[in-house]
């Protein structure tokens, strides 16, 4: 039986009060946006609270919204209660100048590489991570390629010599 979303909302709202910024149930998975500094508290609470027990981290990734000043970098967690078969999406946003987020790798061992990947591509600094270094890109790289300031090549550009490698 999936957990009632009202129950999840009520539990989190009473526990964290104004740490909860917004609820969104318009998409496929119930989604909550919380303040970035309480991310680990929320994840731990969701893990330990018996009536919620979101103990499986499905996915962790980042997103970049350059126009949202002060909240440019987002980190998105998908947690799953396997017994009750309920999913929950948690979002936090941090400024691009100071993208500090507490690591979840102490709670979920699987978060280790997912956080390294998010650091690699978005430059999120996971405080307390045991081994925060690049995982997919080369170590010498000095930028974070999935941020929006690195556009892909314009497919209609004509200033290139296409004789050899034309498309």
């Amino acid at each position: 039986m999936p957990i009632n979303s009202d129950h999840i909302k009520e539990k989190i709202n009473t526990q964290f009060g104004d740490g909860v910024l917004a609820w969104d149930d318009s998409s496929d998975i119930l989604c909550v946006e919380i303040k970035s500094e309480i991310n680990l508290k929320v994840l731990t609470y969701l893990y330990d609270e018996p009536s919620l027990a979101f103990q499986f981290l499905t996915d962790l990734t980042g997103i970049h919204y350059p126009e949202k000043t002060g909240n440019e970098i987002g980190v998105i967690y998908h947690v799953h209660n396997l017994k009750e078969n309920t999913r929950l999406r948690i979002k936090i946003f941090v400024p691009v100048g100071k993208p500090d987020v507490y690591t979840a790798s102490g709670l979920f061992s699987g978060a280790n590489w997912m956080e390294r990947e998010t650091f690699d591509f978005f430059g999120v600094n996971f405080i307390g991570h045991p081994n925060l270094k690049r995982v997919l890109n080369v170590d010498e790289m000095d930028y974070h390629p999935l941020r929006k300031e690195f556009p892909l090549e314009d497919q209609t550009r004509i200033d290139k010599d296409d004789e050899m490698f034309g498309r």
Binding site: D28, F56, T58, S109, G110, V135, Q155
Partner: protein, 408 residues
Amino acid sequence: MPEQANIVLPEGSLEKQTTRLNLGPTHPATHGVFQNILEMDGERIIKAESTVGYIHRAFEKLAERRPLYQITTLTDRLNYCSAPLNNMGWHMTCEKLLGVKTPKRVDYLRVIIMELSRISDHLICNSIVGVDTGAYTGFLYVMQYRELIYEIYEEVCGSRLTTNMGRIGGFERNFTNTAFEKLEKFLEEFPKVWKEFENLFMRNRIFIERTKGTGAISAERALNYSFTGPNLRAAGIDYDVRVHAPYSSYEDFDFIIPVGTTGDNYDRFMVRGEEVWQSLGIIRQAYEKVQSFKGKDAEIYHADAPEYYLPAKSDVYTKMEALIYHFKIVMGETEIPAGEVYHSIEGANGELGFYLVSDGGRSPYRLHFRRPCFIYYQAYEEIVRDTMLSDAIITLSSLNLIAGEMDA
């Protein structure tokens, strides 16, 4: 003067009793491009450090500039042993965002193809485990029968390994009679072969002694490491996306989820082996259901979604509307609705998830692949600690690591 006095050893080497061994990036035993730096005490592994990313191709970045159909070809190259699974997972994600409802017949046809590719993936994984324990025959033997699966793919979509199969809403064309004949041939011949293959291994003493008790991970650790798929089920957790969140009408089928108990290499082998039998059962049921469609219903192979489904070529030449849609789809001019979806399917390696965020443009604002390989490979360091090197090689292959999926 003792005769060894002229040998100059590097400084500190007498105090340091361990050796550093580089396994990979390209090594026949790793079956893919990734590196393991092992700290060895004799043949015992004390510490392992994994390095990945040798074939990283920035799919998530590329997807931010591509219309939906051009992303299908990127998904092919994730887990290339079961490309149709990735294709269909991606198409179903798009359908979820676009609100396209697929007819039952399409779902069943998809199930046939998805289960065939699950078989082809497990078949490679299990036979490679055999190779790494020193039995090459099984691999060469079942490889012939993967060919039968590839012939079915070829008949359905025209290509073999990186299939780019299907469209949003269904298939590009109806299955031909030849495709069904080939499927029947496969269903006829393959079970005997798989039985024979299992006979070679299941109660083979050498194989059991090489695999039993090696590379084990407990259920708690596997869950904590976000394991999914056969590797999690081998540890004893019956989590299967096909049952927990049925997609493509999987709720209409009758099958069981095999689970192991110890999570070691032998259990992983057995779980994959049993899943092949279950997949065969599902294919038979799906084929029967497909056969039950008669007359006009048997002609349905795609959903009615003209904005996203490429029209037939004959219509493009004769009908104005079809021409417009064709142009818009091919040039990627169709704007997709804003929203975000997470859709996951039971890939051959576990939960293959697509997290798609759209801002209403022509391509995704952000697309993230949840790649099961990448997530469970981080546990390798823990699994192989304090085991023998030769066991670590089998663990590597029985986890079924596909470098393409790991690096995206």
